[in-house]
């Protein structure tokens, strides 16, 4: 983080003969401050995860009442219970897991497909004129998802989608797509229009331009948006709880929250299930992290 070329700062050094190089001192102070903030952020970030592990490894499932900072007899038995679906809230755990995975993957694919098509039409084809039309998907967020769940429940029944995984996928796509379009719209400013025009002059149809120029050049943003949609679906609880009524279509998120219905549930099993449920999105996110950074630019390139 060189702030300036040393040559330009040298006159000010003469003013501070005792401190020597003030910018070096300041930089050292900056690094010290960064280290302190870093340690605080590390503890802040890891504490809830540590708490999950603490309870999941406990043999009795009542760590929260014993007040220890590490279980007396740590055991992986809770994870065995989850894997085998041995507790009745966790029956058919892998079937529920497959439901969650299906919802997340379908949401990801549909959001990327629908979002990239719409952002191409809005941003590249001069369809949208003015701010009201160009960003209209964002108006969706004026009615938050949780506010819409009751009418959504009735509407989905009219569509013949009650108790269907597709109803949850529809809800997730509905609320992930506006952000996806927004991000793609901003990122598309990096792709020069001359490329589209050159292809058009060569006789390429808009679809060819979309497939051969837009999609390949937008790859980083598409990965970012896909990850966002996947995590969005994995975060979502209310719609899965409301719209999926049968045991066959239950998801892991609903199964975990069910433990709160009981007064004396084995909380260690609950936490073990929560950890297993959290692993795929964290793994996918960390694997794709290098790619996703490019897609976070909400403001577009400005210079």
């Amino acid at each position: 983080m060189s702030l300036a070329s040393p040559r330009l700062l040298r006159p000010s050094e003469a003013v501070w003969p005792l401190l020597g190089r003030p910018h070096r001192l300041r930089r050292r102070l900056g690094t010290g401050l960064a280290l302190v903030v870093g340690v605080v952020m590390l503890i802040w970030s890891l504490l809830p995860t540590y708490n999950m592990l603490l309870i999941a490894l406990d043999a009795e499932g009542d760590t929260e009442y014993s007040g220890t900072l590490w279980p007396a007899e740590p055991t992986l038995d809770s994870f065995r219970v989850v894997m085998a679906g041995d507790y009745w809230y966790l029956e058919h755990f892998w079937h529920k897991f497959a439901n969650s995975l299906f919802i997340a993957l379908a949401t990801m694919v549909l959001t990327v497909a629908i979002g990239s098509l719409a952002s191409f039409a809005l941003g590249r084809m001069r369809l949208a004129r003015g701010w009201l039309l160009g960003n209209f998907p964002v108006v969706t967020y004026a009615v938050p998802a949780s506010f819409l769940v009751i009418p959504f429940y009735r509407v989905v029944r009219e569509y013949g989608l009650s108790d269907s995984l597709w109803s949850v996928i529809a809800a997730d796509v509905t609320f992930a797509a506006p952000y996806a379009i927004l991000i793609l719209h901003q990122y598309a400013r990096l792709v020069p229009f001359e490329l589209d025009e050159a292809a058009q002059i060569d006789g390429a149809s808009p679809f060819v331009v979309y497939r051969s120029i837009y999609l390949p050049l937008m790859a980083p943003a598409l990965v970012a948006v896909g990850t966002f949609a996947l995590l969005f679906a994995w975060n979502e609880y209310l719609y899965q709880y409301m719209l999926l009524t049968s045991d066959r279509n239950m998801t892991v998120a609903v199964a975990i929250a069910q433990f709160f219905d009981a007064d004396e549930a084995p909380w260690n099993h609950m936490m073990a299930a929560a950890i297993v449920y959290a692993l795929p999105p964290v793994a996918i996110f960390l694997a794709l992290r290098r790619w996703t950074a490019a897609g976070f630019s909400l403001d577009g390139p400005r210079v």
């Binding site: 995860t49 999950m52 900072l69 160009g134 967020y141 938050p144 509407v155 229009f193 936490m271």
Partner: protein, 300 residues
């Protein structure tokens, strides 16, 4: 195209349309075809449910009933605090922390990976963990307070304001990494020359943040704050899973109250009315957001 005048009428910003050229008819058909899948989703799952909801909750008597209900008024106060404190704390901390995470040292990048797992961690596991961490006198937080400082922590969910505070902390924990990364990307887009010019003029450290970085990020900060406001008003998971509304439903927000009216009190119309009563505030926020998004591209 854009109603915002560009700073340099002759030199186009990257991604800006050349002036004067209009959409031709065959292109219009293509454009509508591209937009069609989203329009179908928008009509079927936004316009129709919203219209249906407004129609169910059309009776003015419902709103009279709401405003006479102490629980509703208390919930409005909670929601305003949850959103007002939560969003502003989160955004301000995120923009400060983005200054740490633009550093290129190895340990900063490792820390960023750990920090971002908070965002990647699904809401249900994360908030369930917060619930157990803060439950009663024997949760991990009070355990740590006792072991490290010899302090007996409060029973967090026995007090409305403490419970609300816990929800805010949990929400900030989950979503701050996301906004931090947005600000990191925003800072990365600031050209190095601006920093160098600022350093020559003597603006470093806090003064550089105040007079250089923040003015450049101002529009981004506003856009993010508006978007986060809309998302936070609709947040159901935090209150539902961290405090579970305790004590005695006094820490609820609009999203959970609507749910309880509809399913525990079997008054779906009242539940919809409770949530729809926020629309007169949310719709203008969304419109300002759309306006600012358009302005973002032509700054600097």
């Amino acid at each position: 195209m854009s109603s915002v005048p560009s700073a340099h009428p002759l030199s186009l910003n990257p991604g800006e349309y050349p002036p004067g050229r209009r959409l031709q008819r065959s292109e219009l058909a293509w454009a509508l075809a591209f937009l069609a899948p989203y329009l179908v989703v928008f009509a079927a799952f936004v316009v129709y449910p919203v219209g249906h909801g407004l129609w169910i909750a059309r009776d003015p008597a419902l709103y009279a009933e709401l405003f006479a209900d102490q629980r509703y008024l208390r919930t409005v106060v909670n929601t305003v605090l949850f959103v007002g404190l939560g969003v502003n704390l989160m955004m301000f901390a995120a923009v400060l922390l983005s200054g740490l995470f633009v550093r290129r040292e190895w340990w900063v990048r490792a820390l960023l990976a750990v920090y971002l797992t908070c965002w990647a961690l699904p809401a249900v596991p994360a908030f369930v963990s917060f619930h157990w961490m803060l439950i009663g006198e024997q949760g991990l937080v009070n355990g740590l307070l006792r072991e490290l400082f010899g302090v007996e922590g409060p029973i967090w969910f026995n007090d409305r304001w403490l419970a609300l505070g816990c929800n805010i902390i949990a929400y900030v924990w989950k979503w701050m990494p996301f906004w931090t990364v947005v600000f990191v990307a925003g800072r990365m887009a600031i050209p190095q020359e601006i920093y160098e010019a600022a350093a020559v003029d003597g603006a470093t450290g806090a003064r550089r943040f105040l007079h250089v970085v923040f003015p450049i990020l101002a529009n981004l900060y506003l856009v993010c704050t508006l978007l986060a406001t809309l998302w936070t008003v609709g947040d159901f998971n935090t209150t539902y899973l961290v405090s579970i509304g305790a004590p005695a439903r006094s820490s609820e927000v609009l999203a959970t109250l609507g749910f309880h009216y509809a399913f525990d009190a079997a008054q779906p119309a009242l539940g919809i009315a409770a949530t729809m009563s926020a629309l007169p505030i949310l719709v203008p926020v969304a419109l300002v957001l759309m306006r600012r998004l358009q302005a973002g591209g032509v700054q600097l």
